[in-house]
Symmetry: C2
Subunit: 296 residues, 2 copies
């Protein structure tokens, strides 16, 4: 990570965490266990990639990015809810997440299901109340985030595609379709929603969308590579699990070396897409570099 990106994260991540802390009911507000579970998973050491992308997208036009924080946090809430539900016994059945017990292991299945539901609901409420922006823009962002999180083009559809692919011969599976909907759509929308609220032109928005789509895919492929190659202690979750569950991944489909080459290629496409934005896009370019080369 270069020093400019490092300075950006040093500034943005604490602001994102402080905003999340303000937005979620306190641990003592009844029903306390529900709010404890929401906070447990929200503050479990996530990378904050999606809200950081919203902030960086917004900063293309508006270096004063404080106004976008609630909307940025809505993306983190939706991401966190999806992890809580994905970890449930009926889904991926993961006991650990980010090095600590997953939400249902800590709070029980019922509370975990409801904490996920509540984070999704709070994400929508948070956008609806983000009164720093005109209502028509917030309404468009609400539609964008719901589409990216839902079905048939978004995250929930991707999770079903992923579940259905388990155990099937890898050659019969459209891995890119799974990644595009399961993780790509929300990452893409995080950066485009930020850029849209910041006020980029339609042409710039399309460039940012392509950037988001490319880094979203790269991000997931890197995740799958790390799952195969990095020990569990570093990963904070059960490594090698994708392979054990016969998940649809690029490493399974084309091997590690070719997967790395694909990551380099599509990260290059992401970079080129936002070249026209000039110096304003430096943080987004650095995020692309960082996602390509990250080791956990």
């Amino acid at each position: 990570m270069n020093s400019e990106l490092s300075a950006f994260f040093d500034h943005a991540l604490p602001a994102i965490d402080a905003s999340l802390d303000r937005l979620v009911p306190s641990e003592s507000t009844p029903p306390a266990r529900l709010h404890q579970a929401m906070r447990y998973s929200l503050f479990a050491g996530g990378k904050r990639l999606r809200p950081a992308l919203s902030v960086a997208g917004f900063a293309l036009c508006r270096p004063d990015w404080n106004d976008v924080l609630p909307v940025a946090c809505a993306f983190e809430m939706i991401h966190t809810y999806s992890l809580i539900h994905d970890d449930l016994p009926a889904m991926d059945d993961d006991d650990f997440r980010r090095g600590i017990p997953s939400c249902h292991r800590k709070f029980g299945e019922a509370i975990a299901i409801l904490a996920g539901d509540a984070l999704l609901t709070l994400a929508m409420e948070t956008i609806a109340r983000a009164d720093a922006f005109p209502p028509d823009r917030l309404l468009r962002v609400t539609a964008m985030i719901a589409r990216a999180a839902g079905t048939p083009a978004g995250m929930i559809a991707g999770q079903v595609f992923d579940l259905e692919a388990e155990g099937r011969p890898i050659g019969e599976i459209n891995v890119e379709q799974i990644h595009r909907s399961k993780t790509g759509a929300l990452i893409t929308t995080a950066v485009t929603a930020g850029a849209f609220l910041g006020g980029v032109s339609e042409a710039e928005l399309e460039a940012v969308r392509v950037y988001g789509e490319r880094i979203g895919l790269a991000f997931q492929i890197v995740d799958d590579i790390l799952d195969e190659t990095v020990p569990m202690e570093t990963l904070g979750k059960t490594g090698g699990k994708d392979r054990d569950q016969q998940k649809a991944t690029y490493p399974a489909l084309v091997g590690l070396d070719k997967s790395r080459a694909i990551v380099a290629e599509i990260t290059g496409q992401a970079r080129r897409s936002i070249e026209g934005l000039g110096g304003r896009a430096r943080i987004l370019l650095s995020i692309a570099d960082y996602l390509e080369t990250r080791s956990h």
Copy 2:
């Protein structure tokens, strides 16, 4: 049910069902099993109380209520998602709902969890895209529905209060608080959102809100009375289950006769609250009568 209300339902319910059918991806759209599960639960014979209340609230000012149908349907989507998640083994563990296998019994737990998530998400997207209304009004409705469906004042909080009350001595439990958040908030918001979008005055909106709150509570108490007194075949779900699970209900707290008296009293409060609206409120008054005297 009087003939005017019967005519209203004959007109409104097919329109609500047709609107739901347009809003939800078809059974053949991939991922097909997800959309089949969403439709299975949405079209399983629900009473459509919440969307009917939105339509009736809207019709206070706008007899041409077609425009409000998407928003009305969003309430039914949220209600249906809550039933799917409530029926899960980790929650109330119900095998039947409306006389047929519950969603997870039919499609498996993973798909049921995701179908619920998708209905909640689609509800929000539907409101955001309901372009018959000004964005600021839709944004306020989004905030209202999210608050009513979420925590700490809405449906998810109520479900946690309900789970936490199980097995505890009934005297220590605030049954009204559970009902108010678990079912009351969404019913109240269904009718107020409709009235708000139709264009009632602030004073009228407050009258409608009190009406919704009172019929919401009456509705739940009647539900609990029916659970104790009506055979399973009529109810379409496992009767007497509340008692077996030591659920917090009015019949358990004060007995059947006193529960019936409370229903009559709060239904009267609901009626009086909207007296000032005159003849326009006839449908809402008939709905209050119907909810008080329904037998299933």
